[in-house]
């Protein structure tokens, strides 16, 4: 693991661990819901950013919102840090524990509370998985639109905390556009609901602020999501291109031509080959780039759009064009894309999945830069994009057992993200900043921008106890608290400007 500075450990808190355990047991009633033995807390030491590990001080498993409130209140009074955790599938280290923290696992909040077809919504506890919401309503032909690739495992509360997207967010938006209400517990124990079953809400849009706030502003205890009726017809096309430029140009032309597909993905040759070997999806493995385009709606509408896409792709020298003829076809086409990350496991012992966002027209430029960097760092890279909304997922392959390899990988990743910002994009499209991109925040924001964000944080969590050390660089926070000091240890990206 490379060095990453985390908030100063409160040794006094660690000394009081036994006392805290007994106090927390009183709140949670069931003793088994407070874990402190190293064997019990080991599974919580990391999320899906597995390069970083840290055992927490204590793990709590609350079962009711009142318990969440009492725990937070207790921790707030005793100035104990709290790290909330959903399913632990986050890729940016958002629920990485701190040595002196109470890790609050929401895993017992796993029930769907209400399915309301009349108002087209589902009310769920935060650790219900994304996919099980769709499962709960699919009998009646409904579904929940955002579909992150981890949808089988990731929790809806985590989706809200990270504002997760997915392959269909091009047409249907990300989490923030698909929720109607949330219930949140603030660090001082206040339980508050924003929104409900209505569209928008009166007053400040706290739901919008909480969505994507990465567990820094409150603990989500309930989510009401919008459900949609399944479209009559869905068709997917697999299109091969002999160059990535041609694929990139097609994306821009399809969008500017007035067609908004439900999803539009590109994978490069390396990944196309790896996934096809993995799931036998029937991909054009000889193509330099492969595009998946999906339209949904009525049959005639879908056919009309497919024709437009076909002619645009042909003008851009597409080498193959295959439209799904059955639901099985379609599922197989997607199976490859959805298995893209595991398929990388075949190519290298480990991979780091990056998540930059760029203007659509810069796709091929950014890809060239990634290839240049791949040579510079001598690390192979495979690329998957949510091309329609300019969201890149370069997968850098390395060997985690080799420390130098991990260091190089992280530097490589940082350079990609800096380039994304340079061409007018963003550091993260859907995975969140967490600890992974924390040190790069000053690439996207200046000091004043970050200070305003920190002031919002402090307005809801005055002692900065909820998920500290995430999203915002530590030194900046020290400055905010008036304890500016120079840190001489290694930091993750030593060459970036500091404040």
């Amino acid at each position: 693991m490379t060095q990453l500075q985390m908030p100063k450990v409160d040794n006094q808190a660690l000394e009081k661990r036994e006392l805290y355990v007994s106090e927390l047991q009183k709140i949670l009633i069931k003793k088994e819901n407070v874990l402190s033995h190293s064997d019990e807390i080991k599974p919580y030491e990391t999320d899906a950013l597995t390069a970083y590990r840290q055992m927490p001080m204590i793990v709590v498993l609350p079962e009711t919102v009142e318990q969440v409130s009492s725990i937070l209140k207790f921790c707030n009074q005793n100035k104990i840090k709290v790290v909330p955790r959903g399913a632990g599938t986050g890729l940016s280290g958002g629920s990485l524990p701190l040595k002196d923290c109470v890790l609050m696992s929401m895993s017992k909040f796993n029930k769907i509370i209400e399915v309301d077809y009349e108002n087209r919504c589902v009310k769920a506890q935060p650790c219900v998985t994304n996919l099980s919401i769709t499962h709960a309503v699919q009998d009646k032909g409904f579904y929940y639109a955002p579909d992150p690739s981890s949808q089988m495992a990731c929790s809806i509360g985590g989706n809200v905390a990270e504002n997760s997207g997915g392959v269909h967010s091009l047409k249907y938006g990300a989490t923030t556009n698909n929720i109607l209400g949330i219930e949140v517990v603030l660090m001082d124990g206040t339980i508050v609901s924003f929104g409900g079953k209505t569209m928008d809400s009166e007053g400040y849009d706290f739901m919008g602020l909480m969505t994507g706030s990465e567990g820094l502003l409150g603990v989500i205890t309930q989510v009401t999501v919008k459900i949609l009726k399944k479209p009559e017809t869905v068709k997917t096309a697999l299109i091969g291109f002999s160059s990535i430029d041609d694929a990139g140009n097609s994306v821009s032309q399809i969008i500017s031509g007035g067609c908004i597909p439900a999803g539009m993905e590109i994978m490069d040759k390396a990944l196309t080959k790896a996934t096809d070997d993995h799931v036998k999806a029937g991909y054009p493995t000889d193509a330099e780039a492969m595009m998946i385009v999906e339209f949904d709606g009525t049959e005639s509408e879908v056919n009309e759009y497919m024709e437009i896409v076909k002619s645009i792709c042909q003008k851009n020298n597409s080498s193959s064009f295959k439209i799904s003829e059955s639901e099985e076809d379609r599922k197989r086409f997607w199976a490859g894309r959805k298995a893209a990350f595991p398929a990388c496991g075949v190519l290298a012992p480990d991979y780091l999945c990056m998540d930059g966002s760029i203007p659509r027209s810069k796709l091929s430029e950014v890809l060239k830069e990634i290839n240049r960097l791949s040579k510079k760092y001598d690390l192979p890279v495979a690329n998957a994009f949510h091309a329609g909304d300019g969201n890149l997922h370069p997968l850098i392959m390395f060997d985690a057992n080799d420390e130098e390899s991990l260091r190089k990988t992280e530097e490589f990743g940082a350079e990609i993200l800096k380039y994304c910002v340079k061409v007018g994009g963003a550091l993260t499209g859907e995975h969140g900043v967490g600890i992974e991109k924390r040190e790069l925040m000053c690439e996207a924001f200046n000091d004043v921008d970050i200070q305003q964000q920190l002031k919002i944080k402090l307005s809801l969590d005055p002692y900065s106890l909820l998920n500290p050390g995430k999203v915002y660089p530590i030194l900046r926070k020290c400055a905010e608290e008036g304890r500016v000091h120079v840190h001489k240890g290694k930091t993750k990206f030593p060459d970036i400007p500091r404040f």
């Binding site: 009349e118 108002n119 409904f142 990270e162 091009l170 938006g173 990300a174 556009n177 603030l186 206040t190 508050v192 409900g196 079953k197 209505t198 569209m199 928008d200 009166e202 007053g203 400040y204 849009d205 706290f206 739901m207 919008g208 602020l209 706030s213 009726k229 399944k230 821009s252 969008i255 007035g258 067609c259 908004i260 709606g297 009525t298 049959e299 005639s300 509408e301 056919n303 009309e304 203007p359 027209s361 909304d389 007018g424 963003a426 993260t428 859907e430 995975h431 969140g432 900043v433 991109k437 925040m441 921008d449 970050i450 305003q452 964000q453 002031k455 919002i456 402090l458 307005s459 809801l460």
Partner: protein, 420 residues
């Protein structure tokens, strides 16, 4: 005054004698706010003033008028975004987008007919500050869902940015959400990057005659839950029927209208499916073509139903299953009403409003899990009635949030809530 505050008050202009300032640059906005911050001067922020009457009355010493800070900064049709200065009129934006077959899909509403009798869409800054959205709301989201990035000047006069011009961005807190709908009480918006979308190639409207409220809401409910992908659903009681001057809309009873937009080839099919799903007979319905549909839905978007209304107007948002109950429970207070957002929104016109009636309205709306905003309120009533409702918990955190943006409470203080 601290050293920092002294530095902040050093500006190139002397604002002390100006009562209304019309900045031409972001720097000027920042300097003006810094000046007011250093002197504790409350400011009223305005664009073209088309929605200025919405909100509470409050005391201010100076006006910050953004109508000269206008213009399109960058428009990239193929990237589906437009970046504008906050004083830019919606008209100017619409014209630019129209040339490329694009539009603002959230249909910013005009309050001109309501307040002055003349259409006035106002500025984009105003549209974002108030977050009013048209009939497509349930399909495409509201104004807040179309803001990709924002630049604001906070109550300390600092220029702060959030988001950008790309659709997917989760870098830091999403300030564009909290600023949208904050009525200028947190920060002065200077720049906005908006998501734009291709205009649908065709529009058609299915009009159902003579369905009464309950039946109409059933139709709307089924339509919104159907695969026909509808993009508008309204109910106008019969007293509005004489306000429509359309060749294919001559019926004098209540009107239920459902909009279908998209590829030309699919529209007929979707209308047919919908008609079948709703179990409608030919003599109960007719269709509005593209042109008539545009007129009909603009009528709704611009609240023309309440043109020059002398009465109070409340926007009530409820879960659609509660619309009938809400209206029935409040019937005795309503002079007129109509339903938009496929049953999610009721525009209620109320002649006589006082604290007692409002308490009753509030109770009914609370009971069904809805909320309201008083859009038009008789001036004489403004002192005693809360335009926005809020509970004590949300009041406290709203106050804390306000403090993080505008610690001296100089930006539209009291516009939304007393003390915020």
């Amino acid at each position: 005054m601290s050293i920092k505050e002294k530095q902040n008050s050093q500006t190139s202009q002397d604002f002390s004698k100006i009562s209304e300032f019309k900045p031409k640059s972001e720097k000027e906005i920042s300097e003006f706010v810094k000046f007011c911050y250093s002197k504790n001067i409350p400011i009223e922020v305005e664009g073209s003033g088309s929605k200025l009457k919405i909100g509470r009355n409050f005391q201010s010493e100076k006006k910050l008028n953004l109508s000269n800070y206008a213009g399109i900064i960058k428009y990239e049709p193929e990237e589906l975004y437009i970046k504008v200065k906050s004083g830019t009129t919606i008209n100017e934006i619409n014209q630019a987008l129209d040339k490329n077959g694009q539009h603002l899909a959230f249909e910013p509403q005009s309050f001109g007919y309501l307040f002055t009798g003349v259409k006035n869409l106002g500025t984009i800054g105003g549209a974002i500050s108030t977050n009013f959205s048209g009939s497509r709301r349930f399909k495409v989201g509201s104004a807040r869902d179309h803001v990709l990035g924002i630049k604001v000047v906070n109550g300390r006069g600092e220029i702060v940015k959030s988001g950008g011009t790309v659709v997917k961005n989760v870098t830091g807190y999403d300030l564009s959400k909290i600023i949208t709908g904050s009525y200028g009480t947190l920060a002065v918006i200077s720049e906005i990057s908006l998501k734009v979308l291709p205009k649908p190639p065709s529009i058609k409207t299915l009009v159902i005659h003579n369905a009464q409220l309950k039946k109409s809401l059933e139709y709307l409910g089924i339509s919104l839950s159907s695969s026909s992908d509808v993009s508008g659903g309204v109910f106008y009681p019969e007293y509005f029927s004489n306000q429509f001057f359309l060749n294919d809309l001559t019926n004098k009873g209540p009107i239920t209208a459902i909009r279908i937009e998209g590829a030309t080839s699919s529209i007929e099919k979707r209308l047919e499916n919908l008609k079948k799903e709703l179990g409608l007979l030919d003599d109960e319905i007719n269709y509005l073509d593209d042109e008539q549909s545009k007129i009909f839905w603009k009528f709704t978007q611009n609240l023309k139903a309440f043109e020059k209304s002398e009465k109070n107007l409340i926007k009530v948002v409820i879960p659609p299953s509660k619309a009938v109950k809400t209206i029935n429970n409040l019937k005795k207070h309503l002079t007129r009403y109509f339903i938009d957002w496929g049953g999610n929104l009721i525009w209620m016109e109320i002649d006589k409003l006082n604290s007692e009636i409002l308490r009753e309205i509030e109770e009914v709306i609370d009971n069904v899990g809805g909320y309201y905003i008083i859009v038009k309120l008789d001036d004489g009533l403004k002192a005693g009635i809360d335009v926005f409702k809020i509970n004590s918990i949300k009041y406290k955190i709203s106050q804390n949030l306000k403090n993080s943006f505008d610690p001296k409470r100089i930006l539209n203080p009291g516009k939304m809530y007393s003390g915020i």
